[in-house]
Assembly symmetry: C2
Protein backbone atom coordinates (compact mmCIF):
# COMPACT_ATOMS: atom_id res chain seq x y z
CA UNK A 1 0.00 0.00 0.00
CA UNK A 2 2.60 2.50 -1.01
CA UNK A 3 0.79 5.68 -1.76
CA UNK A 4 3.71 7.43 -3.40
CA UNK A 5 3.37 4.97 -6.24
CA UNK A 6 -0.23 5.91 -6.92
CA UNK A 7 -1.12 6.77 -10.46
CA UNK A 8 -3.86 9.34 -10.10
CA UNK A 9 -5.48 8.33 -13.35
CA UNK A 10 -5.87 4.71 -12.46
CA UNK A 11 -8.42 2.95 -10.35
CA UNK A 12 -6.97 0.46 -7.93
CA UNK A 13 -8.71 -2.62 -6.58
CA UNK A 14 -8.27 -3.78 -3.03
CA UNK A 15 -9.86 -5.98 -0.40
CA UNK A 16 -10.51 -5.14 3.23
CA UNK A 17 -11.24 -7.77 5.83
CA UNK A 18 -13.48 -7.55 8.86
CA UNK A 19 -11.92 -10.30 10.95
CA UNK A 20 -14.20 -11.57 13.69
CA UNK A 21 -13.12 -13.77 16.56
CA UNK A 22 -14.61 -14.97 19.81
CA UNK A 23 -12.64 -14.85 23.03
CA UNK A 24 -13.48 -14.58 26.71
CA UNK A 25 -17.22 -14.49 26.07
CA UNK A 26 -16.75 -11.55 23.74
CA UNK A 27 -17.18 -11.17 20.01
CA UNK A 28 -14.16 -9.23 18.79
CA UNK A 29 -12.88 -7.48 15.72
CA UNK A 30 -9.24 -7.46 14.71
CA UNK A 31 -8.05 -3.98 13.77
CA UNK A 32 -4.66 -2.70 12.73
CA UNK A 33 -2.56 0.34 13.49
CA UNK A 34 -1.54 1.84 10.20
CA UNK A 35 2.18 2.00 9.60
CA UNK A 36 2.01 4.19 6.51
CA UNK A 37 0.68 7.57 5.48
CA UNK A 38 -1.95 8.79 5.18
CA UNK A 39 -3.55 8.28 8.55
CA UNK A 40 -0.42 6.74 10.01
CA UNK A 41 -0.97 5.43 13.52
CA UNK A 42 -4.74 5.32 13.20
CA UNK A 43 -6.85 2.17 13.39
CA UNK A 44 -8.06 0.43 10.27
CA UNK A 45 -9.22 -2.86 8.88
CA UNK A 46 -6.55 -4.96 7.24
CA UNK A 47 -6.49 -4.95 3.49
CA UNK A 48 -4.39 -5.46 0.43
CA UNK A 49 -4.26 -5.01 -3.31
CA UNK A 50 -5.95 -7.46 -5.60
CA UNK A 51 -3.33 -8.68 -8.04
CA UNK A 52 -4.11 -8.84 -11.70
CA UNK A 53 -4.15 -12.60 -11.83
CA UNK A 54 -6.27 -13.29 -8.78
CA UNK A 55 -9.87 -12.84 -7.71
CA UNK A 56 -10.92 -10.68 -4.79
CA UNK A 57 -11.54 -13.87 -2.77
CA UNK A 58 -8.03 -15.10 -3.47
CA UNK A 59 -6.59 -11.75 -2.49
CA UNK A 60 -8.53 -11.80 0.79
CA UNK A 61 -7.25 -15.32 1.52
CA UNK A 62 -3.71 -14.25 0.80
CA UNK A 63 -3.98 -11.26 3.10
CA UNK A 64 -5.56 -13.32 5.85
CA UNK A 65 -2.92 -16.01 5.64
CA UNK A 66 -0.23 -13.38 5.77
CA UNK A 67 -1.72 -11.83 8.87
CA UNK A 68 -2.96 -14.81 10.86
CA UNK A 69 -0.92 -17.70 9.54
CA UNK A 70 -4.18 -19.55 8.85
CA UNK A 71 -5.45 -21.10 5.64
CA UNK A 72 -9.01 -22.23 5.01
CA UNK A 73 -10.55 -19.24 6.67
CA UNK A 74 -14.28 -18.82 6.33
CA UNK A 75 -14.91 -15.89 3.98
CA UNK A 76 -18.02 -14.11 2.86
CA UNK A 77 -18.41 -11.11 0.60
CA UNK A 78 -20.00 -8.16 2.33
CA UNK A 79 -20.10 -5.15 0.06
CA UNK A 80 -18.17 -3.13 -2.47
CA UNK A 81 -17.13 0.43 -1.76
CA UNK A 82 -16.34 2.27 -4.95
CA UNK A 83 -16.78 5.98 -4.42
CA UNK A 84 -13.74 7.41 -6.25
CA UNK A 85 -13.15 9.78 -3.33
CA UNK A 86 -13.52 7.22 -0.55
CA UNK A 87 -9.75 6.87 -0.08
CA UNK A 88 -7.95 10.22 0.15
CA UNK A 89 -4.79 8.57 -1.12
CA UNK A 90 -6.19 7.56 -4.48
CA UNK A 91 -8.98 6.04 -6.48
CA UNK A 92 -9.49 2.68 -4.80
CA UNK A 93 -12.39 0.30 -5.19
CA UNK A 94 -12.48 -2.15 -2.33
CA UNK A 95 -14.34 -5.38 -1.74
CA UNK A 96 -15.05 -6.07 1.92
CA UNK A 97 -15.00 -9.62 3.28
CA UNK A 98 -16.19 -11.05 6.54
CA UNK A 99 -13.65 -13.48 7.94
CA UNK A 100 -14.43 -15.71 10.90
CA UNK A 101 -11.50 -17.23 12.74
CA UNK A 102 -10.81 -19.29 15.83
CA UNK A 103 -8.79 -16.94 18.00
CA UNK A 104 -6.88 -19.73 19.71
CA UNK A 105 -5.54 -21.05 16.41
CA UNK A 106 -4.16 -17.91 14.89
CA UNK A 107 -0.61 -16.72 15.26
CA UNK A 108 -0.40 -14.10 17.97
CA UNK A 109 3.21 -13.38 17.03
CA UNK A 110 2.10 -12.25 13.59
CA UNK A 111 -0.69 -10.19 15.08
CA UNK A 112 1.78 -8.43 17.35
CA UNK A 113 4.23 -7.94 14.54
CA UNK A 114 1.63 -6.07 12.54
CA UNK A 115 0.45 -3.97 15.44
CA UNK A 116 -2.99 -5.49 15.44
CA UNK A 117 -5.40 -5.62 18.33
CA UNK A 118 -8.64 -7.39 19.14
CA UNK A 119 -11.45 -5.08 20.21
CA UNK A 120 -14.76 -6.12 21.68
CA UNK A 121 -17.49 -5.45 19.18
CA UNK A 122 -18.96 -2.65 21.32
CA UNK A 123 -15.60 -0.99 21.90
CA UNK A 124 -14.19 -0.78 18.39
CA UNK A 125 -12.35 2.56 18.07
CA UNK A 126 -12.86 5.09 15.30
CA UNK A 127 -11.48 3.66 12.08
CA UNK A 128 -10.01 5.46 9.07
CA UNK A 129 -11.85 6.53 5.94
CA UNK A 130 -15.08 4.59 5.46
CA UNK A 131 -13.93 1.62 7.51
CA UNK A 132 -16.52 2.48 10.15
CA UNK A 133 -19.24 1.90 7.57
CA UNK A 134 -17.57 -1.30 6.50
CA UNK A 135 -17.55 -2.62 10.03
CA UNK A 136 -21.15 -1.63 10.61
CA UNK A 137 -22.38 -3.31 7.44
CA UNK A 138 -20.20 -6.36 8.04
CA UNK A 139 -21.51 -6.78 11.57
CA UNK A 140 -25.10 -6.42 10.40
CA UNK A 141 -24.45 -9.09 7.81
CA UNK A 142 -23.01 -11.37 10.47
CA UNK A 143 -26.05 -10.86 12.68
CA UNK A 144 -28.36 -11.59 9.80
CA UNK A 145 -26.44 -14.74 9.06
CA UNK A 146 -26.62 -15.76 12.72
CA UNK A 147 -30.42 -15.48 12.70
CA UNK A 148 -30.67 -17.90 9.80
CA UNK A 149 -27.77 -20.23 10.40
CA UNK A 150 -26.33 -21.64 13.55
CA UNK A 151 -22.94 -20.02 13.39
CA UNK A 152 -20.07 -20.93 15.66
CA UNK A 153 -18.38 -23.61 13.58
CA UNK A 154 -15.79 -21.09 12.46
CA UNK A 155 -15.60 -19.11 15.68
CA UNK A 156 -15.67 -21.64 18.51
CA UNK A 157 -13.10 -24.34 19.31
CA UNK A 158 -13.67 -27.82 17.90
CA UNK A 159 -15.46 -28.88 21.06
CA UNK A 160 -17.57 -26.48 23.07
CA UNK A 161 -20.43 -26.46 25.53
CA UNK A 162 -23.93 -25.25 24.79
CA UNK A 163 -23.26 -22.47 27.28
CA UNK A 164 -20.27 -21.29 25.23
CA UNK A 165 -22.42 -21.29 22.11
CA UNK A 166 -25.10 -19.38 23.96
CA UNK A 167 -22.55 -16.84 25.16
CA UNK A 168 -21.49 -16.35 21.54
CA UNK A 169 -25.08 -15.59 20.60
CA UNK A 170 -25.44 -13.36 23.64
CA UNK A 171 -22.41 -11.43 22.39
CA UNK A 172 -23.65 -11.19 18.83
CA UNK A 173 -27.11 -9.93 19.72
CA UNK A 174 -26.24 -8.11 22.91
CA UNK A 175 -28.96 -9.88 24.80
CA UNK A 176 -29.33 -12.76 27.19
CA UNK A 177 -30.88 -15.88 25.71
CA UNK A 178 -32.82 -18.12 28.07
CA UNK A 179 -30.51 -21.08 28.83
CA UNK A 180 -33.20 -23.75 28.67
CA UNK A 181 -34.91 -22.50 25.55
CA UNK A 182 -31.62 -21.85 23.76
CA UNK A 183 -30.47 -25.38 24.46
CA UNK A 184 -33.67 -26.96 23.20
CA UNK A 185 -33.67 -24.82 20.07
CA UNK A 186 -30.12 -25.47 18.96
CA UNK A 187 -30.34 -29.18 19.70
CA UNK A 188 -33.55 -29.43 17.69
CA UNK A 189 -31.65 -28.19 14.62
CA UNK A 190 -29.82 -31.48 14.56
CA UNK A 191 -26.48 -30.04 13.53
CA UNK A 192 -24.64 -30.67 16.80
CA UNK A 193 -23.16 -33.90 18.06
CA UNK A 194 -22.73 -34.59 21.76
CA UNK A 195 -19.34 -35.88 22.87
CA UNK A 196 -18.54 -38.18 25.80
CA UNK A 197 -16.30 -35.64 27.44
CA UNK A 198 -17.42 -32.98 29.86
CA UNK A 199 -16.09 -29.54 30.57
CA UNK A 200 -15.56 -29.40 34.35
CA UNK A 201 -14.12 -25.90 34.54
CA UNK A 202 -17.31 -23.88 34.49
CA UNK A 203 -19.51 -25.77 36.90
CA UNK A 204 -19.45 -28.45 39.54
CA UNK A 205 -21.79 -30.65 37.60
CA UNK A 206 -19.87 -30.34 34.37
CA UNK A 207 -21.25 -29.68 30.90
CA UNK A 208 -21.04 -32.01 27.94
CA UNK A 209 -18.93 -30.88 25.03
CA UNK A 210 -20.53 -30.73 21.61
CA UNK A 211 -19.13 -30.40 18.15
CA UNK A 212 -20.62 -29.44 14.81
CA UNK A 213 -21.55 -32.44 12.70
CA UNK A 214 -19.35 -33.01 9.68
CA UNK A 215 -21.90 -31.91 7.16
CA UNK A 216 -21.94 -28.88 4.95
CA UNK A 217 -23.81 -25.86 6.16
CA UNK A 218 -27.48 -26.12 5.45
CA UNK A 219 -28.98 -23.02 4.00
CA UNK A 220 -31.69 -22.50 6.54
CA UNK A 221 -34.17 -19.92 5.44
CA UNK A 222 -36.53 -19.95 8.36
CA UNK A 223 -34.93 -17.95 11.10
CA UNK A 224 -33.48 -19.78 14.06
CA UNK A 225 -33.89 -16.92 16.47
CA UNK A 226 -36.80 -14.84 15.40
CA UNK A 227 -36.60 -12.22 18.06
CA UNK A 228 -32.88 -11.85 18.33
CA UNK A 229 -32.93 -8.37 16.87
CA UNK A 230 -35.35 -6.07 18.62
CA UNK A 231 -36.37 -2.58 17.69
Amino acid sequence: MLYDQYDKNKRYISVDCTIFGYEQDQLKLLVFKRIIEPALGEWSLIGGWVKENESAEEAARRVLHFITGLSDIYLEQVHVFSDPKRDPGGNVLTVVFNALIKVEEHSSQLIEKYDAKWFSIDQVPKLIFDHDDMFRIAFEKLRLKATYNLIGRQLLPEKFTITQLRNLYNAIFQKSFDPGNFRKKVLSLNVLEQLEEKDMTESKKGAFYFKFKDIEESNVVEPIFRNAIKF
Copy 2:
Protein backbone atom coordinates in the same frame (compact mmCIF):
# COMPACT_ATOMS: atom_id res chain seq x y z
CA MET B 1 -17.55 -2.74 -24.54
CA LEU B 2 -15.10 -2.83 -27.40
CA TYR B 3 -12.99 -5.85 -26.88
CA ASP B 4 -10.36 -4.94 -29.48
CA GLN B 5 -9.31 -2.13 -27.22
CA TYR B 6 -8.57 -4.47 -24.33
CA ASP B 7 -5.22 -4.15 -22.68
CA LYS B 8 -4.44 -7.67 -21.54
CA ASN B 9 -2.40 -6.43 -18.61
CA LYS B 10 -5.12 -4.30 -17.15
CA ARG B 11 -8.08 -5.20 -15.01
CA TYR B 12 -11.28 -3.55 -16.08
CA ILE B 13 -14.22 -2.73 -13.83
CA SER B 14 -17.77 -3.08 -14.99
CA VAL B 15 -21.31 -3.36 -13.67
CA ASP B 16 -23.99 -5.81 -14.74
CA CYS B 17 -27.66 -5.28 -13.96
CA THR B 18 -30.31 -7.87 -13.24
CA ILE B 19 -33.37 -5.84 -14.16
CA PHE B 20 -36.58 -7.22 -12.69
CA GLY B 21 -40.04 -6.18 -13.71
CA TYR B 22 -43.58 -7.38 -13.12
CA GLU B 23 -46.03 -7.71 -15.96
CA GLN B 24 -49.07 -9.87 -16.65
CA ASP B 25 -48.86 -11.67 -13.32
CA GLN B 26 -45.28 -12.65 -14.10
CA LEU B 27 -41.97 -11.65 -12.58
CA LYS B 28 -39.64 -11.00 -15.47
CA LEU B 29 -35.99 -10.38 -16.19
CA LEU B 30 -34.78 -8.05 -18.91
CA VAL B 31 -32.04 -9.64 -21.02
CA PHE B 32 -30.15 -8.38 -24.02
CA LYS B 33 -29.00 -9.82 -27.29
CA ARG B 34 -25.32 -9.06 -27.62
CA ILE B 35 -24.38 -6.95 -30.59
CA ILE B 36 -20.62 -7.41 -30.25
CA GLU B 37 -18.09 -10.22 -30.17
CA PRO B 38 -17.44 -12.42 -28.35
CA ALA B 39 -20.73 -14.24 -27.98
CA LEU B 40 -22.47 -12.02 -30.48
CA GLY B 41 -26.17 -12.77 -30.71
CA GLU B 42 -26.33 -14.58 -27.39
CA TRP B 43 -28.35 -13.43 -24.39
CA SER B 44 -26.75 -11.51 -21.56
CA LEU B 45 -27.43 -9.11 -18.75
CA ILE B 46 -26.92 -5.48 -19.57
CA GLY B 47 -23.72 -3.92 -18.29
CA GLY B 48 -21.23 -1.17 -18.79
CA TRP B 49 -17.82 0.07 -17.76
CA VAL B 50 -17.34 1.93 -14.54
CA LYS B 51 -15.69 5.22 -15.39
CA GLU B 52 -12.76 6.40 -13.36
CA ASN B 53 -14.62 9.25 -11.78
CA GLU B 54 -17.77 7.39 -10.76
CA SER B 55 -18.79 4.72 -8.30
CA ALA B 56 -20.22 1.36 -9.33
CA GLU B 57 -23.66 2.57 -8.21
CA GLU B 58 -23.38 5.64 -10.42
CA ALA B 59 -22.31 3.52 -13.35
CA ALA B 60 -25.28 1.20 -12.85
CA ARG B 61 -27.62 4.19 -12.73
CA ARG B 62 -26.12 5.59 -15.88
CA VAL B 63 -26.50 2.28 -17.71
CA LEU B 64 -30.06 1.85 -16.49
CA HIS B 65 -31.03 5.34 -17.54
CA PHE B 66 -29.51 4.76 -20.93
CA ILE B 67 -31.46 1.55 -21.41
CA THR B 68 -34.82 2.30 -19.83
CA GLY B 69 -35.04 6.06 -19.91
CA LEU B 70 -35.74 5.99 -16.18
CA SER B 71 -33.97 7.77 -13.35
CA ASP B 72 -34.38 7.00 -9.67
CA ILE B 73 -34.35 3.27 -10.17
CA TYR B 74 -34.20 1.12 -7.08
CA LEU B 75 -30.74 -0.43 -6.93
CA GLU B 76 -29.15 -2.96 -4.63
CA GLN B 77 -25.70 -4.49 -4.72
CA VAL B 78 -25.76 -8.23 -5.20
CA HIS B 79 -22.27 -9.62 -5.56
CA VAL B 80 -18.86 -9.05 -7.10
CA PHE B 81 -17.48 -11.45 -9.69
CA SER B 82 -13.75 -11.10 -9.95
CA ASP B 83 -12.26 -14.31 -11.31
CA PRO B 84 -9.68 -13.00 -13.80
CA LYS B 85 -10.83 -15.64 -16.28
CA ARG B 86 -14.56 -15.07 -15.94
CA ASP B 87 -14.79 -13.00 -19.12
CA PRO B 88 -13.04 -14.63 -22.08
CA GLY B 89 -12.53 -11.22 -23.63
CA GLY B 90 -10.39 -9.83 -20.85
CA ASN B 91 -9.77 -9.37 -17.17
CA VAL B 92 -12.99 -7.81 -15.97
CA LEU B 93 -14.19 -7.43 -12.43
CA THR B 94 -17.91 -6.82 -12.35
CA VAL B 95 -20.30 -5.65 -9.67
CA VAL B 96 -23.81 -6.99 -10.09
CA PHE B 97 -26.82 -4.88 -9.15
CA ASN B 98 -30.46 -5.76 -8.71
CA ALA B 99 -32.67 -3.16 -10.35
CA LEU B 100 -36.43 -3.11 -9.82
CA ILE B 101 -38.52 -1.17 -12.30
CA LYS B 102 -42.13 -0.54 -13.14
CA VAL B 103 -42.53 -2.09 -16.55
CA GLU B 104 -45.25 0.29 -17.63
CA GLU B 105 -43.04 3.32 -17.05
CA HIS B 106 -39.95 2.34 -18.98
CA SER B 107 -39.31 3.22 -22.58
CA SER B 108 -40.19 0.28 -24.80
CA GLN B 109 -38.67 2.04 -27.78
CA LEU B 110 -35.28 2.00 -26.11
CA ILE B 111 -35.72 -1.63 -25.15
CA GLU B 112 -36.45 -2.54 -28.73
CA LYS B 113 -33.60 -0.47 -30.00
CA TYR B 114 -31.17 -2.43 -27.87
CA ASP B 115 -32.63 -5.78 -28.77
CA ALA B 116 -33.77 -6.50 -25.25
CA LYS B 117 -36.51 -8.84 -24.18
CA TRP B 118 -38.44 -9.58 -21.02
CA PHE B 119 -38.37 -13.22 -19.96
CA SER B 120 -40.48 -14.80 -17.28
CA ILE B 121 -38.29 -15.74 -14.37
CA ASP B 122 -38.76 -19.45 -15.03
CA GLN B 123 -38.02 -19.14 -18.75
CA VAL B 124 -34.83 -17.14 -18.77
CA PRO B 125 -32.61 -18.51 -21.56
CA LYS B 126 -29.00 -19.57 -21.20
CA LEU B 127 -26.91 -16.46 -20.65
CA ILE B 128 -23.29 -15.81 -21.56
CA PHE B 129 -20.23 -16.31 -19.35
CA ASP B 130 -21.18 -16.39 -15.68
CA HIS B 131 -24.37 -14.39 -16.14
CA ASP B 132 -26.38 -17.47 -15.24
CA ASP B 133 -24.77 -17.45 -11.80
CA MET B 134 -25.40 -13.73 -11.53
CA PHE B 135 -29.08 -14.19 -12.25
CA ARG B 136 -29.38 -17.08 -9.81
CA ILE B 137 -27.70 -15.18 -6.99
CA ALA B 138 -29.61 -12.01 -7.79
CA PHE B 139 -32.95 -13.81 -7.75
CA GLU B 140 -32.11 -15.52 -4.46
CA LYS B 141 -31.28 -12.13 -3.02
CA LEU B 142 -34.59 -10.74 -4.25
CA ARG B 143 -36.47 -13.64 -2.66
CA LEU B 144 -34.65 -13.14 0.60
CA LYS B 145 -35.50 -9.48 0.52
CA ALA B 146 -39.13 -10.32 -0.18
CA THR B 147 -39.31 -12.53 2.91
CA TYR B 148 -38.16 -9.68 5.11
CA ASN B 149 -39.65 -6.67 3.41
CA LEU B 150 -42.91 -6.12 1.69
CA ILE B 151 -41.60 -5.48 -1.78
CA GLY B 152 -43.72 -4.17 -4.60
CA ARG B 153 -43.21 -0.48 -4.19
CA GLN B 154 -40.69 -0.49 -7.02
CA LEU B 155 -42.37 -3.16 -9.13
CA LEU B 156 -46.09 -2.44 -9.01
CA PRO B 157 -47.95 0.60 -10.34
CA GLU B 158 -48.65 3.45 -7.94
CA LYS B 159 -52.05 2.00 -7.11
CA PHE B 160 -52.69 -1.71 -7.03
CA THR B 161 -55.01 -4.24 -5.48
CA ILE B 162 -54.09 -6.73 -2.77
CA THR B 163 -54.65 -9.44 -5.36
CA GLN B 164 -52.02 -7.89 -7.63
CA LEU B 165 -49.59 -7.77 -4.74
CA ARG B 166 -50.39 -11.39 -3.94
CA ASN B 167 -49.81 -12.37 -7.54
CA LEU B 168 -46.40 -10.71 -7.37
CA TYR B 169 -45.56 -12.81 -4.33
CA ASN B 170 -46.96 -15.90 -6.00
CA ALA B 171 -44.61 -15.21 -8.91
CA ILE B 172 -41.59 -14.61 -6.71
CA PHE B 173 -42.01 -17.73 -4.62
CA GLN B 174 -43.65 -19.93 -7.23
CA LYS B 175 -46.43 -20.84 -4.87
CA SER B 176 -50.01 -19.84 -4.24
CA PHE B 177 -50.56 -17.77 -1.14
CA ASP B 178 -53.93 -18.09 0.58
CA PRO B 179 -55.91 -14.97 -0.39
CA GLY B 180 -57.42 -14.37 3.04
CA ASN B 181 -54.27 -14.96 5.03
CA PHE B 182 -52.12 -12.95 2.63
CA ARG B 183 -54.47 -10.02 2.88
CA LYS B 184 -54.53 -10.04 6.66
CA LYS B 185 -50.78 -10.35 6.87
CA VAL B 186 -49.84 -7.50 4.55
CA LEU B 187 -52.45 -5.17 6.02
CA SER B 188 -51.18 -5.90 9.52
CA LEU B 189 -47.77 -4.55 8.47
CA ASN B 190 -49.29 -1.09 8.32
CA VAL B 191 -47.33 0.03 5.28
CA LEU B 192 -50.25 0.15 2.85
CA GLU B 193 -52.89 2.84 2.50
CA GLN B 194 -56.34 2.09 1.14
CA LEU B 195 -57.63 4.43 -1.57
CA GLU B 196 -61.23 5.39 -2.30
CA GLU B 197 -61.08 4.03 -5.81
CA LYS B 198 -61.84 0.47 -6.82
CA ASP B 199 -60.51 -1.66 -9.61
CA MET B 200 -63.56 -2.98 -11.45
CA THR B 201 -61.74 -4.89 -14.16
CA GLU B 202 -60.96 -8.09 -12.31
CA SER B 203 -64.20 -8.83 -10.52
CA LYS B 204 -67.85 -7.85 -10.38
CA LYS B 205 -67.58 -6.67 -6.80
CA GLY B 206 -64.47 -4.60 -7.45
CA ALA B 207 -61.32 -4.48 -5.33
CA PHE B 208 -60.02 -1.44 -3.51
CA TYR B 209 -56.79 0.04 -4.74
CA PHE B 210 -53.97 0.44 -2.26
CA LYS B 211 -50.72 2.35 -2.36
CA PHE B 212 -47.54 2.18 -0.33
CA LYS B 213 -47.43 4.77 2.43
CA ASP B 214 -45.00 7.61 1.89
CA ILE B 215 -42.53 6.43 4.48
CA GLU B 216 -39.06 5.09 4.06
CA GLU B 217 -38.66 1.35 3.92
CA SER B 218 -38.51 -0.11 7.38
CA ASN B 219 -35.81 -2.63 7.84
CA VAL B 220 -37.92 -5.49 9.03
CA VAL B 221 -35.86 -8.28 10.42
CA GLU B 222 -38.57 -10.69 11.38
CA PRO B 223 -39.71 -12.43 8.26
CA ILE B 224 -43.02 -11.49 6.77
CA PHE B 225 -43.58 -14.82 5.10
CA ARG B 226 -41.82 -17.42 7.13
CA ASN B 227 -42.64 -20.36 4.99
CA ALA B 228 -42.38 -18.81 1.57
CA ILE B 229 -39.33 -20.82 0.65
CA LYS B 230 -39.86 -24.53 1.14
CA PHE B 231 -37.36 -27.34 0.83
